[in-house]
């Protein structure tokens, strides 16, 4: 009886079809998952770039306004300068110190209130020696450490 079952070739075509199908399905799913991951990565890269340029635009505006403020007499009164610069939109924190040449050295933390505090742009600038404009010493994006959350959704 057992020998009969083993030697019986009926249904072998179906077995081959099932194996081929299984192989195609596995490769198809792998390709789809891989493509989905690539797209998610590209979307994250795009979102990160958008966030950076939003902060960068805010920093450009803050720098332009700081440059205007430095033209006034406020540049010698550091406390007043700090309070004026702190009112600029997007400026989360300002710290004014005296540099070696006696000029104010302004450190600003630019932050977008909508996106939260996990990303900020640190800008350090001082008035230019010529009298107009500013010299930028640092323009750095700071990203707070984050925990990775697995999200599935294509």
């Amino acid at each position: 009886m057992r020998r009969n079952v083993l030697s019986n070739q009926k249904g072998s075509a179906s077995v081959i079809v099932i194996l081929v199908m299984l192989m195609l399905v596995v490769f198809g799913v792998l390709a789809f998952v891989s493509a989905g991951s690539s797209l998610r990565l590209a979307q994250k890269n795009a979102a990160m770039t958008q966030e950076y340029y939003k902060l960068d635009a805010m920093a450009e505006q803050a720098t332009a306004q700081a440059s205007e403020t430095l033209k006034s007499s406020e540049r010698s009164d550091f406390k007043r300068l700090e309070s004026t610069l702190g009112k600029i939109t997007g400026v989360a924190a300002v710290h004014v110190t005296r540099s070696d040449n006696g000029q104010p050295l302004i450190e600003m933390r630019i932050q977008d209130s909508k996106t939260g505090a996990d990303k900020s742009l640190n800008v350090i600038l001082s008035p230019a020696a010529s009298g107009s404009g500013v010299v930028i010493h640092e323009w750095k994006l700071v990203v707070k450490p984050f925990t990775y959350e697995q999200q599935i959704g294509l």
Binding site: S14, G28, S34, A35, L39, T49, Q50, Y53, E60, A64
Partner: protein, 171 residues
């Protein structure tokens, strides 16, 4: 050896019914699987296009950032389609760049139709109009993707500010 010979001499194969069923099942399932492969290819293409779009957009913004404050955009950027429109006292400058399917720059005048269009609209920043310009950049694909509803999918949009004065510089 004997078993090999018997295997070769064995004239047993698949019956016609078996073959018909196997081919029918394979073609039905194959249709579905091919759709999955095509969709995967479309997703891969979209991901690659999005990466290219980000790269092209940042490249253009960084190029604008390095320009002198009162630069002549038309001469400096050498783009094929640069239109400047003045709205009241303010000027709105539009920069357009075209790319083929391999992201190589395409001339608008050439017979080759572009697959991607990069549009950057520059206008004076309301907070610092004398020294700063706002840039609204959009990268659009002129054809739709497989299984996509959007006729002209927007790949990337970017809002930036550049230290460039475009106020009153219109044609």
């Amino acid at each position: 050896m004997t078993s090999d010979k018997s295997f070769l001499r064995n004239r047993k194969g698949f019956s016609l019914v078996e073959m018909i069923i196997a081919v029918a099942v394979l073609s039905l399932m194959g249709l579905v699987i091919i759709q999955v492969f095509i969709h995967s290819d479309s997703l891969n293409r979209k991901a690659a296009d999005m990466d290219h779009a980000v790269s092209v957009a940042t490249n253009l913004v960084e190029k604008l950032k390095t320009l002198p404050e009162k630069a002549d955009l038309e001469k400096t950027l050498k783009t094929e389609a640069l239109s400047t429109t003045r709205v009241d006292a303010w000027s709105v400058t539009t920069i357009k760049e075209f790319y083929d399917r391999n992201w190589k720059p395409v001339l608008v005048t050439s017979s080759q139709s572009p697959e991607f269009t990069v549009t950057a609209v520059l206008q004076p920043d309301p907070k610092a109009p004398e020294s700063l310009s706002d840039v609204n950049l959009t990268v659009v694909r002129e054809e739709k993707y497989f299984h996509s509803k959007e006729a002209k999918p927007v790949l990337f949009t970017l809002k930036a500010a550049v230290p460039l004065s475009v106020k009153g510089g219109g044609n």
